[in-house]
């Protein structure tokens, strides 16, 4: 039987701050038999050598921006490299890879990589984002999270956090860091990866981890300027009102909304609908078969930076009421 490429090749983004052990983790991952059919795109050849069949390097750092529209941002170099890989796979001139890992630079904003997957008219028919794995250094992680906004953002958007260098850090340093990461990004499992067998399956399942609500019903926790909090709604939500609200919120505050992940109980829909956004980039909503905890209610977890959770809750509630109010509001009104 001839090997065929998957309909959509899963793409895992590996990110993490400078020196946090991305390439070391990648080298260990690629040594696992489960990843023999994985292609890799890296930004630069670093000091840690990668002995793998299919490693492509990005030649430039060009970011092609549309005229102000973030959702159409395409990293030209990444798109060209991925198109080339796909083309060569179709022609049979490279390994039949079934997974792609992209390693970003330590200071990179992961958003353009994710938006490239979705906005490029060729790539979006052949690749899909499988999840974001962020490496955090157990020795310097706390300091980096506090001092560097890039580090905090990388941890906030992670689907899985890989804690590195735990073999040379004290538990006294690791445990506060794990607690901090748990409050910054309560949705992401934090895995110690420095010693022992690598949890390959858990890392590759990034993006498919079960939804976990936090601190019900009022779970605001602070992490310097970033905050994670949840909105829990018992009544079914109107999809139209939710769409109007979230698009308006992301248009004005998208850069400060690091992450939105939620399950919605929509009016007129029996099954839960999952929504997932990283800054301005919102993935297509998906249907789940069942309610994970058996309770039919909406739960949204936000990770925001410099925004007041109470104001977001109030705004959500005001817009939700638009979906249940009568039509009297369509009469003319003086602009605010």
């Amino acid at each position: 039987m001839v090997d065929a490429a998957p309909a959509f090749t899963p793409v895992t983004l590996l990110t993490g701050f400078l020196g946090s052990g991305k390439t070391t983790l990648l080298r260990r991952l690629l040594g696992d038999p489960a990843l023999y059919d994985t292609a890799v795109i890296i930004n630069e050849f670093g000091e840690v050598a990668l002995d793998h069949l299919l490693v492509e390097r990005l030649d430039g750092e060009t970011v092609l921006l549309g005229s102000g529209c973030l959702c159409c941002t395409v990293r030209g170099d990444l798109a060209a490299t991925m198109r080339d890989l796909h083309s060569r796979r179709e022609r049979g001139t490279v390994l039949m890879f079934r997974r792609l890992v992209i390693e970003s630079t330590g200071l990179a904003d992961p958003l353009p990589v994710l938006s490239t997957l979705r906005a490029d008219p060729v790539l979006r028919h052949h690749f899909r984002a499988a999840g974001v794995v962020t490496t955090v250094d157990a020795v310097n992680g706390l300091m980096q999270l506090d001092r560097y906004v890039e580090s905090m953002r990388q941890a906030a958007i992670a689907d899985v956090i890989a804690l590195t260098k735990t073999d040379i850090a004290d538990d006294d340093a690791i445990m506060p860091l794990e607690a901090r990461l748990g409050t910054l990004n309560p949705q992401a499992p934090v895995l110690r990866v420095a010693d022992g067998p690598l949890p390959v399956n858990a890392l590759l399942a990034a993006g498919r981890s079960p939804f976990r609500a936090i601190g019900e019903p009022d779970g605001t926790v602070s992490h310097s300027k970033a905050r994670a909090f949840s909105i829990i709604v018992e009544e079914p939500i109107d999809w139209s009102s939710f769409g109007v609200w979230l698009t308006m919120l992301l248009n004005r505050h998208g850069a400060k909304i690091l992450r939105v992940k939620g399950l919605l109980a929509l009016r007129g829909e029996a099954r839960p609908v999952a929504v997932h956004a990283v800054q301005n980039l919102v993935h297509a909503p998906t249907h789940l078969e069942t309610w994970p905890d058996g309770e039919r209610r909406s739960k949204l977890v936000f990770i925001v930076e410099d925004l007041d959770p109470e104001l977001i809750r109030r705004s959500f509630a005001a817009f939700a009421r638009l979906g249940v109010a009568g039509t009297s509001a369509l009469v003319s009104a003086d602009p605010i």
Partner: protein, 108 residues
């Protein structure tokens, strides 16, 4: 086409996802799609009127956003609505603006 960037075959907006396995969308049936578009216009107008704007469906394919004085723009989907609204209104449209929230509460 993306109305902002002019990119052909532009991005699929999450509120208008193409019907496919596992994806939630109301584009899976013509009647549901029309109903959703009408509902979206109705809800959006409750907010837009407070900025002196009005939205209407444009041939079932796009939306027409207009000021009360007639200046208008075509927008493809909700993803581009608010940037266009800010251009036409000449001000930011902020869903966290306490004044807006007070007006919405009063309307509700």
């Amino acid at each position: 086409m993306c109305a902002l960037c002019g990119c052909l075959d532009g991005d699929e907006h999450w509120t208008d996802a193409v019907a496919r396995k596992g994806v939630f969308t109301r584009n899976d049936d013509p009647a549901r799609r029309r109903q959703e578009r009408a509902r979206r216009v109705q809800v959006a107008n409750r907010v837009l009127k407070l900025y002196g704007l009005r939205l209407s469906d444009w041939q079932g394919a796009s939306f027409l956003l207009a000021t009360f004085t007639g200046k208008s723009e075509i927008v493809g989907d909700l993803g581009h609505l608010w940037a266009a609204a800010e251009r036409l209104a000449g001000r930011s449209c902020d869903p966290l603006d306490p004044e807006l929230l007070a007006r919405l509460d009063a309307d509700g």
